[in-house]
Amino acid sequence: MTPIATPFFFYLLAGTMIIGGVLVITRRNAVHSALALIVALLAQAGMYLMLYAPFVAAVQIILYAGGIMVLFLFVIMLVNLERAQKERQFNRIWPVGLLSAFALGLLFVGVYSKGKTLLPSEMMQIPESSNTQEIARYLYGNYMFAFEIASLLLLVAIIGAVVMAKKRI
């Protein structure tokens, strides 16, 4: 079944994401930023659904919103400083940073507007019912090795986090 009112939902979610993103980088209180990030991530999950990627959407919600952000919140609680909120939130070079970032954005927009014709316009019909199986097939087929390595990656992340965070090993 094709999604309904695609444009509306798209703009809704896009708006939510952008606003969330803006809030993330502007909030004084880190917790608020985290929450804003969660919102943005959820909105992005919605977009995944619109793009016929239910599995990714699920991963997004579970892993990101559920896992990573919790980690963030923990850390924020751990290192939360009253001081951090009182002093200024932006470093000295922020105007330049802002400027150059916007410049980059402008360039991107320009490029996309230039190169829009290059992308194939017709979309491929992806069977969403079997999406997960397909992904599994890919993961254990083409990307098996990468998948294994990814497990190592997570392992290393755990070790690293422990080594770094633990007072004495």
């Binding site: 798209f10 993330v24 992005q44 980690l71 400083l81 002093e87 470093n91 996309y112 083409n142 690293g160």
Partner: protein
């Protein structure tokens, strides 16, 4: 409201990317900088998934890997941040000032 093409998603992703960059460049709070990096990675994911709409599932799979990576980076980054915080009692990035030219 016309037809939503991949390009729309690209633009959104680009916006997200830029937001992330801004965050990285301007904020002092390391945690928030890490979050901004997450934003960037999400932009990447959005790109990938959007493209996978054109080419098939590779993109989605790739995005899963990127998420994994994001998780790992976040974990390690926060760990290092804690170690740093122990020594320095701050999480402000411009107070990382021992090493300079």
């Amino acid at each position: 409201m016309g037809e939503i093409t991949v390009l729309h998603y690209l633009v959104v992703a680009a916006a997200l990317f830029i937001l992330g960059v801004i965050g990285v460049l301007t904020r002092r709070n390391v945690v928030i900088i890490l979050m901004s990096i997450e934003l960037i990675l999400n932009a990447v994911n959005l790109n990938l998934v959007a493209f996978s709409r054109l080419y098939g599932l590779h993109g989605q799979v790739f995005s899963i890997f990127v998420i994994t990576d994001a998780a790992a980076e976040a974990a390690v980054g926060l760990g290092i941040l804690i170690a740093f915080f122990r020594n320095k009692e701050t999480i402000n990035v411009d107070e990382i000032d021992l090493l300079k030219w």
